[in-house]
Structure formats: structure tokens, C-alpha cells
């Protein structure tokens, strides 16, 4: 989220697309109802199903899953065609006026530089034209044919309301009504907020779905303002935190990146991370990269990280592929290239696509360790549960450890919500049996591994034995100790260069924020963006002052939000080029002639002149990108691509299947089904009564939504002679499930490219453990392919067939 849940009350228009907040985040959705009740805000829901969010919407428009980009580019075109653009904002704060290199082009659904064999682009032409002064060439009049604005207009020209209807199946008049409502928010005094979640990410072009809406929000001037923004609802309580802290194959805490093997030394690694400004006078905040990186290495390896050894740069593993994401992990497992696997509070057997493949993969492991407070299907993947898990234990040689952990009620620490709030919580219950804290388990494993290396020696012991593990009780580091490490501290006194008698930073003190971090090894910081969470002022994550001056919804004294307790990202963009708020009634920051003042912590130097320094300081341009240069693998602009399994061919580029650069492993391409064999467009989702695979263990929730079902329209039910409440079989090229049928008016067939497309909805909460009835999950059916940029599996759009059956004899 660029903004926060409580800020949503400041909006004039909520667009829920690619999400279902009422169902998945009801208490956050409250702020939508508050905006409606108190500001007269309107709610638009665009979704293949008439969801619980739609039930309280002012406008609902159906859309075929996997066609959001066509819809959104259509809206952008509508806004531009009808001059519904926040011009001052677009001109000042985006790269609309920048000139793109000669030779860039787009045609037949492909950008320049496509290599079909590699399924990848040579992205060299997706770049700005750099002038002799080393800065990007711009044309503020937006006349230049190769300026971003004109390229954009050219790129979206095909997305007329007719084309949108043809691709998305959204009736033209509904699309136009939505586009009109959205376009009204181009007024500087009207804001729109975008609420999205996995309905956008779980596609082979998920990143572009989101980026497309971000572009729309930029030309409407809705980024950085109260009641605006791009708000990722996020699924799990600390998914944000785990990502911030970089628990991913290619990440280092704070969105730094793990070196690749093309970066053999510290200096080579840093050389590509200079980030010098691309426009005059810009901050280009990543210029501080080295400070954050060195402080991280000091936090990891302490005294062992020295300037001489490049701060133990060699200890870090170097990647040979972009990332070992979960899909690659299970691909390797399936190929017998992995021996051990840990699942910490994670249930992959139900979470990743193509369950058959997952079971086969897990069966090839030598050993598997699961850590969970609850039973999981993964920890019992080897156990036979009839049709629900049809395996033969005697044929599975995996050694499985099931380690019992505490749950939220029994541990202490902080969680980061989707609004980037780090909130501390306290333990209040005695753990059952011998269950233990996850941190205890990790510490115990580490100490034992370390002891083995110290005793026996072995390959590359240094990173392990030199890991900085100086805790009061090494066997059980306390939450406070770990939190302080994340915040960072001073390792050696830092003296004032002008007056060596003055100590600027005193050894042993917590750093106040990342602003004082250093690249000389005198500071350590586990996660620079969290710096400030636990400084000398104490544990700021535990702050509980819920006062909110002038009811802005900022709650700036509540807990801690990264970075440096900033509540709204890019908040400088809430004011115009002279620093005056776009909407005085929704003031966030204001330039008082010498400094920025207001309700939030400015995300720009307090003295940075408004007409000089752009708001988007993380970009070397200082502006936001309508054209992303080479940053994304599948194009500098979003373009419509069908899902890999689509009921119709790509209307714009019939030859292209799916996202042309999405990674597909050998053997998986053959496992994609086509519309002839599997005529119905399926999608998967959550229900409000359940949370993933956890609440099927919870008696109350199990009773509120007891049994696995699929949802279909009355028309399809009639065609297939399926009775509501009756049993059906649903199958794809990869698997088959049995479910109850819920026949509903909330799903209606769509007409796409002249063809009737029926939608099959498949919720995901059932398995073979817990209190609820045993059932299946959609991952028995879904294809093994992910987003081209971040490899999130394509759960939201795939093909199935369906038939009525006689119920299983229970």
C-alpha cells in the first residue's frame, strides 16, 4: 500500500479490481464504507464474479479473468481522449515528456528485441535518450513523436470501448460508465483509490496489471495524495514484513538485491548501483545504496565483515539464475535435484500449482522439515487419505519432521501490515505441549550446525561460524534483541569531521534512522527501511497513541511505519509544483517557503525546493514512470496478453499464447489445456468465512462454510444439467476434483470475441486435515506457470471442464 487502511476514508472513488476487500479484508473494507457514508464516496467493483464487495458497490461491471490490462488501457485511452488528465501532475511528476531512444517499437503484440528461443527481450531500445549533459532529453511541450506521452497514446490507440468489450466481455455501456466515473478523478480535488490483491498478481502478467493501474493513477494525479494511491491489500499478516526483510531467493533486507555470479567482487557489485540522477537536481535516493548494503553486512557478520574483505562480500551466495523462486524450487525437486526442504508455517501442497507435480516432487526429497502450529497437508503429503490424497506411503522414502510451533497468541514481536505499519504484540497464552517459538527453533538449528562445523570442519564454514550471533541467550534470541538489530546501531564512535571533539554517533547506541547509516562499517543495520523502529527513543513499534489531529487518518503516533514513520508514500506529490496542496481540504504537506510542513513525514528532504526536486526520489529521474525503461521483462508499457489457458485467442495478436516472456519449464507447456478440450474459464479465490488453509482447523469457521464447492451460472447449470447443492466433477489437463455445485446469479456468461464464455469459480480453503469436511483445492487443477517478472503462479485464469456426478458415498 502506498497509503494506509485508515486513509481510504479520505477518498471520493474506490475501485476494487483484482481484489475482493469486503470478502478477504472485511475490517479494512470498513474504511470504504466509512468513505461512502461520510464523504458520499462511490464504489466500483470490476470482477468476473458479483462478489461480496460488489454487493455494496454503486457500480459493478463484469470482466473476463485475465483481461484487466485491456480494460485499464481502455480507461486510460478514454481519459486521454476526453482530456480527463491531471495535466500539471502528469507533466511535472511523470516521465511523460521524456524522449525514448530511436528504434523502440511495438507491433503484433511484441516490443522490439524479442527472442522467441530465449522467450526474452533484448531491452536495449527501451531506454531514454540521454543528452550530452548526461541527463534525459525531455520535451515539455509533449510534441516530440518519441516522447513517452505520444508513444503511450500510440500504444493504447487500439483499446477502444468496442475492443475492450470484445476482449473482456464487459458490456460497452458498463465499461463507459466505469471509465466516466474514474475520469472524473482527474480533477485535482477528486481522488480515487485502487484496492487490489491477488486478483491482479496471480497472472502470467500480474506485475503489468498493477503497473497499468498505477499509470492510470498517475495521469489522474492520485499518487501521493490522501484518499488515493495504489493499495495492495496483501493476504497474510506479515507477508509485507517477510518481503521487506528479504526472505526471498534474490533479496537482501530493504529491497537490496543478492549478488549474481556476474558480480564477483564488492566493487563490481556496487559499480552498477551508483544511481546517479537522470535529471538535474534530483535526489536519486538509491545513491545511498552502499551505506545500507555495508550496514547490512555488518549486521550479518559483525567483526568478520571488514573493509579489507569487502565486508565479507564473499560470504553471500551468488545467483546463477534470476531467482530460485518456489516454482523453480519444485521444478528442481521434481527433477530430483534437491534433497532437503524446510516449510516454516507454509503449506505448499495446497499453495502451489499442479498438485500432482508437487506430490511427486516432495516424494523425491530425502528429508522435509515442517514447522507449524497446526497440522498441514504438506507435513502429511505421504499419508493416504483416499481420493483426497491418493498416495502409497511405502513408496515414499522422504524422512519428514513435523515441528510444533507456537502461534500468535503465544509469542511476542512485530508484524508489518499492508499499510507498512510495524505493530508490536505481546504473548498472552501458554503454548500447548512442547510447541516452541520459530526463533527458538532457528537458533537451535543454527547452533547445532555451527557446532558441527566447528567440530568436524567442512565446506565453507566461515559464513556460518562467523555469523554475528551475540545474543544474551544464543539458544533463544529475544524479540527485543532482534528488533534492535533490524533498527541498527553504532559500532564505533563517529566524530564530527569539522570538530573532532564532537561525537556525532556514539558507539553502542541505536541509530535514530537510516539517515545516519554509513558505508565505512561504523554502523550496522539489519534492514535499513525498518531503521527507526527501535531506536534510543525505545520500541516505537509498541507506540499506542491513537490520536489523529484533524481526523486526517494518518495516526502518525501509532506504532511505526516504514520508512521513518511515513504514512503515505510519495506524499510530496500531494502538493503542486509550487508546494501548494492540490486540494486544500485534503492537505497532507505544504511548502512554507523554506521547508515542508504538514501531517506526514515528508518523503523528501525537508528543505528540498518543490520546483527543483521531484517527488519520486527512489527514481534517478525524480519522476514516476509511465514508460518503465528496461525494468520489466515483458514491456515498458503493459500490453494485453491472454492467460496461457484462455477460452479465446488473443484478439490483438492471435499467434501469441500467454505472456511471451513468462518462464515455462520443459514439460509444463505440454500440460496446458486448450479451449476445445476444456471449454470453461476457471478462476480461484478466497471466501470471507475462511483464511487459506488455516481456518478449516477452526471449529467456528468450519461450521460457517463447511464444504468445498464450485460456483457456476444458472445458464451453465442448465446446459450441463447441474443441480445447486448437487455434486460435480471439475477437471483440467492436470487434475480433477469433486465438489458441491453452487448455482448462482452472481456469475453470468460473458460474450468474448463473439463466443459465449462460461466462468467456473473455485474457492481454495479445503484439504484433508482439520475440522471442516475433507475436500480439494484449485491447485489440483492450476497450470505451472508464473508472472514474467516475479513468478507468482497463474491461479486466476485457467481452463476446465465440468460435469454432474453422483455424490461420493461418505
Amino acid at each position: 500500500m502506498t497509503n494506509s487502511w485508515t486513509d481510504i476514508k479520505n477518498t471520493d472513488l474506490v475501485v476494487i479490481m483484482g481484489g475482493n476487500a469486503a470478502e478477504a479484508q472485511p475490517c479494512g473494507f470498513k474504511w470504504v464504507t466509512e468513505a461512502k457514508a461520510n464523504r458520499g464516496a462511490k464504489l466500483i467493483v470490476v470482477d468476473p464474479r458479483f462478489t461480496r464487495s460488489a454487493s455494496v458497490a454503486d457500480m459493478y461491471a463484469p470482466i473476463r479473468q485475465g483481461t484487466d490490462i485491456a480494460f485499464l488501457l481502455g480507461v486510460i485511452k478514454y481519459c486521454i481522449d476526453n482530456d480527463k488528465v491531471q495535466w500539471q501532475y502528469t507533466k511535472a511528476f511523470t516521465n511523460a515528456s521524456y524522449i525514448i531512444k530511436e528504434g523502440f517499437g511495438y507491433q503484433d503484440g511484441l516490443f522490439t528485441g524479442y527472442d522467441e528461443a530465449k522467450r526474452d527481450y533484448n531491452r536495449s531500445t527501451w531506454e531514454y535518450e540521454i543528452g550530452p549533459d548526461g541527463f534525459v532529453v525531455a520535451d515539455d511541450t509533449l510534441q516530440h513523436p518519441r516522447c513517452v506521452w505520444n508513444l503511450l497514446k500510440k500504444h493504447i490507440a487500439i483499446y477502444t470501448p468496442e475492443t475492450v468489450e470484445r476482449i473482456c466481455g464487459t458490456p460497452k455501456e458498463k465499461f463507459l460508465k466505469v471509465a466516466q466515473m474514474i475520469s472524473e478523478c482527474s480533477s485535482p480535488t477528486k481522488t480515487m483509490t485502487s484496492m487490489y490483491a491477488l486478483g491482479w498478481t496471480q497472472h502470467s502478467k500480474g506485475s503489468q496489471n498493477i503497473r497499468c493501474m498505477a499509470m492510470l493513477q498517475l495521469i489522474l494525479g492520485n499518487i501521493g495524495v490522501r484518499g488515493g494511491g495504489m493499495n495492495a491489500l496483501r493476504g497474510h499478516s506479515n507477508i509485507q514484513g517477510l518481503t521487506d526483510i528479504g526472505l526471498m531467493s534474490n533479496l537482501i533486507p530493504g529491497y537490496l538485491t543478492l549478488p549474481t555470479e556476474r558480480e564477483p567482487t564488492f566493487d563490481v557489485y556496487m559499480s552498477t548501483r551508483g544511481f546517479k540522477p537522470l535529471r538535474p537536481g534530483q535526489m536519486s535516493y538509491w545513491q545511498n545504496y552502499k551505506k545500507f548494503f555495508v550496514s547490512f553486512l555488518k549486521a550479518m557478520y559483525g567483526p568478520a565483515a571488514t573493509a579489507e574483505n569487502g565486508f565479507a562480500y564473499d560470504y553471500l551466495p551468488k545467483l546463477d539464475v534470476p531467482a530460485y523462486d518456489v516454482l523453480r524450487a519444485f521444478e528442481l525437486m521434481h527433477a530430483g535435484k534437491m534433497n532437503g526442504y524446510f516449510c516454516q508455517g507454509f503449506n505448499p501442497l495446497l499453495s502451489f500449482p499442479n498438485r500432482k507435480k508437487l506430490t511427486a516432487a516432495l516424494s523425491k526429497l530425502k528429508w522435509l522439515v515442517t514447522m507449524d502450529p497446526l497440522e498441514t497437508e504438506t507435513s502429511r503429503f505421504w499419508e493416504n487419505h483416499g481420493e483426497f490424497n491418493d498416495v502409497d506411503p511405502s513408496k515414499i522414502q522422504t524422512e519428514v519432521f513435523q515441528l510444533p510451533t507456537t502461534c500468535f497468541a503465544e509469542d511476542e514481536g512485530s508484524l508489518t501490515n499492508s499499510g507498512r505499519w510495524l505493530q508490536w504484540h505481546w504473548a498472552g497464552g501458554t503454548p500447548p505441549g512442547e510447541s516452541k517459538l520459530d526463533s527458538w527453533i532457528m537458533a537451535q538449528l543454527y547452533l547445532r550446525l555451527k557446532a558441527l562445523y566447528q567440530k568436524e570442519g567442512g565446506k565453507v564454514p566461515e559464513p556460518i561460524v562467523n555469523l554475528d550471533w551475540r545474543y544474551k541467550d544464543p539458544g533463544e534470541p529475544s524479540a527485543q534483541e532482534l528488533a534492535k538489530e533490524l533498527n541498527g546501531s553504532v559500532l564505533e564512535d563517529v566524530l564530527d569531521p569539522n570538530d573532532p571533539t564532537k561525537v556525532v554517533l556514539a558507539k553502542g547506541k541505536q541509530v535514530v534512522s537510516f539517515a545516519v547509516l554509513r558505508d565505512d562499517g561504523k554502523t550496522a543495520c539489519g534492514c535499513w527501511i525498518y531503521s527507526g523502529c527501535y531506536n534510543e527513543a525505545g520500541n516505537n513499534m509498541a507506540r499506542r497513541d491513537n490520536s489523529d489531529p484533524d481526523d486526517t487518518g494518518a495516526f502518525s503516533k501509532w506504532a511505526f511505519s516504514w520508512p521513518v514513520s511515513r504514512r503515505i508514500l510519495y506524499n510530496r506529490a500531494s502538493a503542486d509544483i509550487n508546494g501548494k496542496p492540490w486540494d486544500p481540504t485534503r492537505k497532507l504537506l505544504e511548502w512554507n517557503g523554506t521547508a515542508w510542513t504538514g501531517y506526514d513525514v515528508p518523503d523528501i528532504a525537508p528543505g528540498a525546493k518543490p520546483d527543483v526536486v521531484g517527488p519520486f526520489i527512489m527514481n534517478p529521474e525524480g519522476t514516476a514512470r509511465l514508460f518503465t525503461r528496461g525494468m520489466m521483462r515483458d514491456g515498458p508499457f503493459p500490453a494485453h496478453y491472454e492467460p496461457f489457458e484462455a477460452p479465446i485467442a488473443n484478439v490483438i495478436a492471435p499467434k501469441i499464447r500467454g505472456n511471451p516472456v513468462a518462464r515455462v519449464f520443459k514439460g509444463d507447456m505440454e500440460q496446458f489445456g486448450d479451449a476445445k478440450e476444456f471449454p470453461y474459464a476457471a478462476t480461484s479465490y478466497r471466501l470471507t468465512e475462511h483464511f487459506h488453509f488455516w481456518t478449516k482447523h477452526v471449529q467456528i469457521n468450519a461450521s460457517l462454510q463447511p464444504e468445498f464447492f464450485v460456483e457456476i451460472s444458472e445458464q451453465l447449470a442448465k446446459e450441463k444439467n447441474i443441480r445447486s447443492g448437487g455434486w460435480v466433477r471439475v477437471w483440467s489437463k492436470r487434475g480433477s476434483v469433486k465438489a458441491k455445485a453452487v448455482v448462482t446469479k452472481r456469475i453470468t456468461p460473458l460474450i468474448c470475441d463473439g463466443k459465449t464464455v462460461h466462468i467456473v469459480g473455485i474457492p481454495l480453503h479445503w484439504g484433508f486435515t482439520g475440522a471442516a469436511k475433507k475436500g480439494f483445492g484449485p491447485n489440483s487443477l492450476t497450470p505451472y506457470v508464473g508472472d514474467a517478472n516475479i513468478e507468482t503462479p497463474e491461479y486466476k485464469a485457467f481452463l476446465v471442464d465440468i460435469e454432474p456426478i453422483v455424490g461420493p458415498v461418505a
Binding site: L247, Y315, L374, P393, F401, T695
Partner: protein, 199 residues
Amino acid sequence: MNMELSRRTFLKGASAGLAGTTIGALGFGEAETAYAAAIRPFKLAGTTETRNTCTYCSVACGIIMYSKGNLAKGEKADIIHIEGDVDHPTNRGTLCPKGAALLDYVHAETRLKYPMVRKPGSDKFERVSWDYALDRIARLMKDDRDRNIVEKNNDGVTVNRWTTTGFLAASATTNETAWATYKVVRSAGMVVFDNQARV
């Protein structure tokens, strides 16, 4: 913990909203002592309150756990009720159907209590001690790492990459646990490393 502060600020912030609603209506004046036979005795009287955050989605609703026994005082604490925290800016005391049933998560029949191991080819879990489990796992890790870690790639670049053992991180553990996990996993050279954000 932090109860007083929050209570104060809560009253400061919220009393205006409350004045003349339920409390006002029921007019706390001469409170009557005996419960009416009709009315269930108030079950939270004398319980210990602990503030926590809902473990489910990223709205991160504030919750209060009510327990018999006080963990902070080293007593055995049995949680008997969980309710939304009205002091919390986001949820304002409300909870969704999952959050409102958190109590049944804490006390779920399928909560795990003891370390278990399933031997190759076996059709059942067997209870083991923590020491057995942890020593065994550490051993398996070391053997696999020593056998398979890639120290240098073909170009002789030091890569210290361990790809034959992987780690999937949780989505509901604390940032502090996440950091401890990161340190352990990365220092071992593991790159097959991911979390729930992927899906």
C-alpha cells in the same frame, strides 16, 4: 502492557463518540449487586488482558486476549476469549469472521504439541524429543551442504551457493523471527529461499 497509555488516549480520542451511547444510556450510577437470574455472569471479570495482532490478513487488526492466569507474571495462562481492540485505529474493535473465532485457532484440536518424525516408507508419525529432531536435522543439513554447496562456478568466481536444500519462510511469523531466519538461511548459503508473498 501499555494498557494505561492506550486507555487514556482512547478515552481522549473516543469518549466523545461514546458519550450518550450504550454506557450513557445504561447510566452507571447506583450499580446493582446481584445478577438477575436471566443474565449470565460476565465471563471476563478478573481475567488478564493482553494486546495482540490478528494472525490472519494484512489489515492487522488489534485484538485483546483475555486469559485466566497471567503469562507476564509467569503463571500458566489459558486464553478464554479474544475480542477486537477498540483503541486500534484500523479495526476500531471490529473483527471479521476469522478474527472473531481466533479462540478456536488457539485451542484447535489439530494444534501440534510434540515433535514428530515420519521414517522413510512409514505410514505414521512417531513422537521424538526436540534434541533428537534438531540434531538429526542439523546433521542432514551439514551432510547435504558439504556434499553439494557450489564454492566456485566454472569461471572460478566464488559463489558459495547451496541449491540442494531449500527454505520456505512463513507469512505470519514476526519480523524478529524473520530476521533470525534470514541470518541462519543466508549464512548457510541457501538460495532456494522464498516466502508466501510469491503466492
